[in-house]
Symmetry: D2
Subunit: 304 residues, 4 copies
């Protein structure tokens, strides 16, 4: 369940133009909190067990916002949501460097996200969207850092070259995706009982059929997972301990090099899917058929 | 007192080629810990009250280093140093995105630095070097975040356009320096009793007389401080509360716009300095005189 | 006159989803060319003397587009527009690193823009939008490079911290704006007869009254111009020739430091404007009055 | 033959502290030109047919250098070198965004490099070092742009995550290397007679045996070449023409996915090399043997 309070909703009393969960106006904050609690209720009905909280709150001008008071208000609001969260649920805090705010954002990086998750309590964890970081940042190390303190909540998978580009997972930098899954394999080995990140795809498909992009992304993600599973982890750790960077690197590279597509295709087939997903999907004419079947639907107000 | 363990020292038994405080080899770690404790002893003799810990530890290859085990070893080593630290001292942890390691560094960002400082205890705080961040990062917000949890330990002032360029403070982006001092003014107002960051200049002067660069940097830093002190903070806060970004921004801009150089020059004069530091320094021929006076000095091994 | 062919227009036969001036489909390219020629005609009626050409053409996937064929098609289309351009007009080619395309854009940087302007002919020049560059890029040097070969066509002024943020000019990095105007002052001194860049503000005002943002931006731009005019250019050049970086830098800094706001305010007053533009504008209640007066207007199709 | 004039050489009359080929002092420029011409002479004796010109010239302070006069002096100097270049040779101009200069560099990007190569003449071409670009830049498109105008001279292969990290080729982003080779395959198909870039590895090996790093890099480069050769170029072009981004992308991805290591190993074996280069090299104990054999060598002054 996602509870974005960035875009104003029809029928909503207050605007989020000056912020939502961190707004100076208490009525705006209350509206945003209520919106999140409504989302929890809907999520219960749907069988969801996590609430992702991302806010577009931030500033476009130096001075526009007091960094500390904004953060305090954000924490005050999220604490109210946290209190309404069932014990079995997780609250996933999503950070983002910029956009829609272009000078500062309240939860801009994993440091701010971690700080908030720590203050909120054990149900609060951090969500890593691959496109929400500063240029050049080592995301796989952030994954390891968050897992180390039990705060790795989950992922928004996508790929990017410049900013929050929301391109298809693995289309720009499949090696980075592999390195992230290597950290997930490490994390699982280290904490088999508690390791349980939530995996989501969060992309924007502007030039492709979205179903095709999702199929392509799923294959990229599953392939990264399969390659990470192929790493000779014992050899890797031995090389790390022996300070042999070349052997350690080759342990990773040997797995990355493998063409796992036959394996992944076979798993897909056994699960009832297609060997050649693109041809199968195009031949099925599924999209055209669904487009004909689809009837206009009236959406309830306020649900994102 | 700085205790860099990046460069190997003459007479030193173990090399730091595979890391220092986070090395896999316990003898290397012990040597690095001892080096830091030696620095504390020297610092006591010199009247120092803080130990800055920066390590070049990291990796050049994916897989070379286990991110979590490296961090654990770093914490284990720093805990030993922390235990040897006098109660009145602070331990300043310095993060750096890259260099000399080019794929990952153990303390790469403020999130890792904060995590380490939190685990070590109240004497451990974070040191912000202005050139050690990813491109585009909002450093002034990091300053506010660290202060909020009592972990803003101090600064290495310098300026940069690309990476850890170590250029003269305020020479590339004087407005950013002003915004950082605005946060310091906020922090001081908020916590007048505890606010006490350590200010250092950490620059590399390749094309200028270092004394001139230090004079120029001091003027830039003091000017940023003076401009931040000129901000009508009441008007700023009122505009922030009223969600009036233009008024809030103009409150900052009105102060930034002021030419504080006469004020700063007068303060300098009253402190026994020169109005026109550059002319005064050049006319004094101080550097040439000192160069003639200087005798070779034998340095004790192991002191950085 | 701007002729963006990014967004599809009502009543338009072909979509620009797969590109406009560089599209593989000749009918799409022809439509985009015709749209530009229509813009020239409208511009003639309005007394315009320049056509700015920016295209959103690019790709979201490696392989989606052949870089060379796309560029050739772009040049073929722009050559047709160029042929329809009056001799007294200029064609301003605008580059942009990313967005709306997120893997590649046809005119992504000043190198591509220059290459196109050179092939098109003397009426074609390059337009520099301050927010369309890669992180850390030295924009003022690009300005100098383009002027050197007679291809500096003009500017889209704005400011940014992360990407094409379109924030108010000078709000994030006023010193960079000053350095750009320093290059313009150099260029004017070097080529007084031909120096004639087109100045435009291209910003997006999401949290302020757009009129206030324009007033604030105008002041920032004019102040940068005034400070650049104050530089002791003779002293600057002498220091450059003498390889005295500190003196050269101080020549710039001495001018940057000056509070030119009284001067700029006086010029504004003499031109019939207000000393304190923000108070005057707010007291005038101009915006509220105009909002009451405004009647719905029917826009002709296809005009951007 | 490389002719770096960055570091001062023993026995050299003038220092390059204030620049070399672009220095204000004509004697310094003449020394740097002579040094390059000496390199050409040595190159002739060695059978070289290309001179790579990289200069560290630039500035650390705004104002330190006049961008245009520096560039003019650089061109004046390189024109003298160009005149001494045999007709069969190429002059490869290498750009670099920053370091050792940290505010500006004379040949900072491919735009400046192209501008210089165009003014010098047909023997001058541009050299692309993979680590010398701004963050996020699309290097494969630059390769295509330079080839389009006959100015793609060659490469310095390496990999990087942050700046000019000089890591092992393909170790950080093997997919980018593949995309670059895809452009080279396109270029070769388009201009089979003239396509002839110079390939060099330019890396810095700090934590590995340099021979191992070179072997690893060679395998990464050859693998990228092999994968690019496997692309169904006809299908790729058809998908591009049909505006089918998913099919076009999958045409690239199908080739990237292939494990070419058996093929590359077989080619290596047939050329007299080893299937498993790392084991073979380590078992050979070549490095230890050579270290024992090596005698001190006296190098002639001034040769880089």
């Amino acid at each position: 369940m996602n509870s974005n309070t960035f875009q104003d909703q029809p029928g909503q009393e207050h605007s989020y133009r000056s912020g939502s969960l961190s707004a100076t106006d208490v009525s705006v904050r209350e509206q945003a909190v209520t919106h999140n609690i409504d989302c929890i209720e809907i999520g219960k009905a749907l069988g969801s067990e996590a609430l992702t909280v991302w806010v577009g709150d931030g500033s476009n001008f130096p001075g526009q916002q007091d960094f500390t008071r904004s953060f305090d208000r954000y924490l005050d609001s999220t604490a109210s949501i946290y209190a309404a969260l069932p014990d079995s649920w997780r609250m996933l805090l999503e950070h983002k460097m910029f956009e829609p705010a272009f000078y500062s954002t309240v939860i801009s990086d994993w440091g701010s996200s971690l700080m908030a998750a720590q203050e909120l309590g054990p149900k609060a964890q951090c969500l890593v969207d691959l496109g929400h970081h500063a240029p050049n940042v080592n995301i796989e190390q952030i994954v390891a850092r968050l897992h180390r303190v039990g705060k790795l909540g989950g992922f928004h998978f996508n790929d990017s070259k410049y900013g929050d580009d929301d391109l298809d997972s693995g289309s720009i930098n499949p090696h980075q995706l592999f390195l992230i899954f290597n950290e997930l394999a490490e994390a699982q080995e280290r904490s088999p009982e508690t390791f349980n990140p939530a995996y989501m795809i969060d992309q924007s498909h502007n030039v492709t059929d979205p179903i095709e992009s999702l199929l392509s992304s799923a294959e990229a993600i599953v392939s990264a997972f399969a390659k990470a599973a192929l790493i000779d982890r014992e050899a890797l750790h031995a090389a790390q301990e022996a300070n042999d960077p070349m052997l350690a690197f080759q342990a990773l590279r040997a797995a990355y090099r493998v063409d796992v597509s036959p394996l992944v295709a076979m798993v897909r087939l056994e699960a009832g899917g297609a060997i050649d997903w693109l041809s199968a999907y195009r031949q099925s004419a599924w999209r055209e058929r669904k487009a004909r079947e689809r009837k206009p639907v009236s959406l309830g107000a306020g649900i994102v």
